[in-house]
């Protein structure tokens, strides 16, 4: 394949599949983005639940640390 072949193929491709690079954005997408941000529920991963469970188990096993932790705030 040389540059000439490549250019010829590229030109033919462009005639078969019109380039899309000049296609304009169909309006401002921010309102749709906002709706999507509002719609998406907060999801918790299994890791979050595991962490919360470990913390709860820790407090049950060692209740004396609770005042110490509260003191840090």
């Amino acid at each position: 394949m040389n540059d000439h072949d490549r250019e010829k193929l590229a030109a033919l491709l462009k005639s078969a599949l019109p380039p899309m690079r000049d296609r304009a954005l169909p309006g401002d997408l921010w309102p749709k983005m906002l709706r999507r941000l509002d719609r998406r529920p907060v999801r918790f991963a299994w890791f979050d639940f595991a962490l919360a469970g470990m913390a709860a188990a820790g407090f049950i096993a060692f209740p004396s640390v609770i005042p110490w932790i509260l003191f840090q705030f």
Partner: protein, 176 residues
Amino acid sequence: MELLERFAGGEIEAFETLFQSHQADVYRWVVCLVRDPAAAEDLTLEAFWRIYRAHARFDPARCFGAWARRIATNLAMEHLRKAGRAVMVGEEMLEAQPCPPAPDSAVLADTRAALRRAFASLPVKLEAVAALVLLEQQPYTEVASALGISVEAVKSREFRAVRLLRKELKEMGVEL
């Protein structure tokens, strides 16, 4: 505080500013890849949704535009893989952007149809490079950055795409 730092901190106003300034670029890039305006719009929104979710991982020293384009490219490639052949190869696309008539239009019409079929048969990785480099004339460096590969790898994929296209066309009885 800088805009990118505020975004990395999760500030929605900073995200909005970045969204407004980059949505057109991301959409244009995605539509070049998937060649379907409706899908490109959805993918642009999904890309920004992922960008927003990943704000904490964003390094404000990096270029936001390149990062956004990379995320959008990954999504578009995923879409192409899932859709099988999401490239719009139908006649309606040609009618939407008509090509200038040629004197030997009957022969050209056959060649174009063969090319569209050959293009649709490319593996997604090669199709993406063919669409961006051959069709859309995007610079190698930008394509490489968006795909997360080297410029040499882009050129290699382009070479393989051209070779495959020529082979497919030959099998369809079209000589270039």
